[in-house]
């Protein structure tokens, strides 16, 4: 089981409270599709992804960004139980969506970049970054857990 220090818990909850999921989710997902274009392979039903402008303006991308943040919200609210909470999501990403788990890492890097920019260096200091990236690593691990 993951061990969280009190400082890490506090950092993650506090940081999460400062974010608008409707802003960060779409931003992070758009960045992932732009910065790592091979990730677009999973979104062929989303319509026009042919340029950064198209991706940034794509309503389906934005909507899906919000879905992803909703799932992360669940993880924040269940920090001691992320593996169990994400069990079905992991099965779905493996068996139904067939997503290479390395993509979860790419998305989490973009989430970090967007969150860092939103909060700035004094709020998103080194200790907060450590806690947040640890949290994202746990989420990424939980999502990959049911792959077989």
């Amino acid at each position: 089981m993951v061990q969280w220090t009190e400082a890490e818990r506090a950092a993650i909850v506090s940081l999460w409270g400062k974010l608008s999921p409707d802003e960060i989710g779409p931003q992070a997902l758009s960045r992932t599709l732009i910065v790592y274009p091979w990730t677009q392979r999973y979104f062929s039903s989303f319509g026009n992804l042919s340029s950064p402008a198209a991706i940034l303006g794509n309503a389906k991308v934005a909507a899906h960004g919000r879905v992803v943040m909703g799932a992360l919200d669940k993880a924040v609210k269940n920090m001691d139980n992320i593996k169990a909470v994400y069990n079905d999501l992991s099965v779905m990403h493996s068996d139904k969506l067939h997503v290479d788990p390395d993509n979860f890492r790419l998305l989490s890097d973009c989430i970090t970049v967007c969150v860092a920019a939103k909060l700035g260096p004094s709020v998103f200091n080194a200790d907060v970054q450590e806690a947040f990236q640890k949290f994202l690593a746990v989420v990424v691990s939980a999502l990959g857990r049911q792959y077989h």
């Binding site: 970049v113 700035g120 998103f124 200091n125």
Partner: protein, 143 residues
């Protein structure tokens, strides 16, 4: 993955701005790497202070940013341009090349915080590709 003409132009334009705060970028990126990825501290066991923003961290942050400035100036031939640095990291420092990726990520996070308005998605992808190519050039002499 190689850098297109557009990528190189984006990197140079962005670097023009970012390099004005090179010392801060270097110090922040290194500080964050040491805290977020504690295994990286093993390479700096001889420092007396590994805390964010400490004197050795600030000093070394500058060294790293100087290396990046060299990379930008040699963007058309990174393998040759970084060959001495690559040799040093491979044979003298023997830094596991996986760490280049880790530092690159921390640099990107700091750049996004300090220069968000300029760190557009197109610039982000160009910088990510650039740092990835730099990491590759730095890994050239390992074996």
């Amino acid at each position: 993955m190689s850098l297109s003409t557009k990528d190189k132009a984006l990197v140079k334009t962005f670097w023009d701005k970012a390099s004005k705060k090179a010392d801060d970028v270097g110090s922040e990126a290194l500080s964050r790497m040491l805290v977020t990825y504690p295994a990286t501290k093993t390479y700096f066991a001889n420092w007396d202070d590994l805390r964010p923003g400490s004197a050795p961290v600030r000093k070394h942050g500058k060294v790293i940013m100087k290396g990046l400035a060299t990379a930008v100036s040699k963007i058309d031939d990174l393998e040759n341009g970084l060959s001495k640095l690559a040799e040093m990291h491979a044979t003298k420092l023997r830094v596991d090349p996986a760490n280049f990726k880790i530092l690159s990520h921390c640099i990107l996070v700091v750049l996004s915080m300090m220069f968000w308005n300029d760190f557009t998605p197109e610039t982000h992808v160009a910088m990510d590709k650039f740092l990835s190519r730099v990491s590759q050039a730095m890994s050239e002499k390992y074996r």
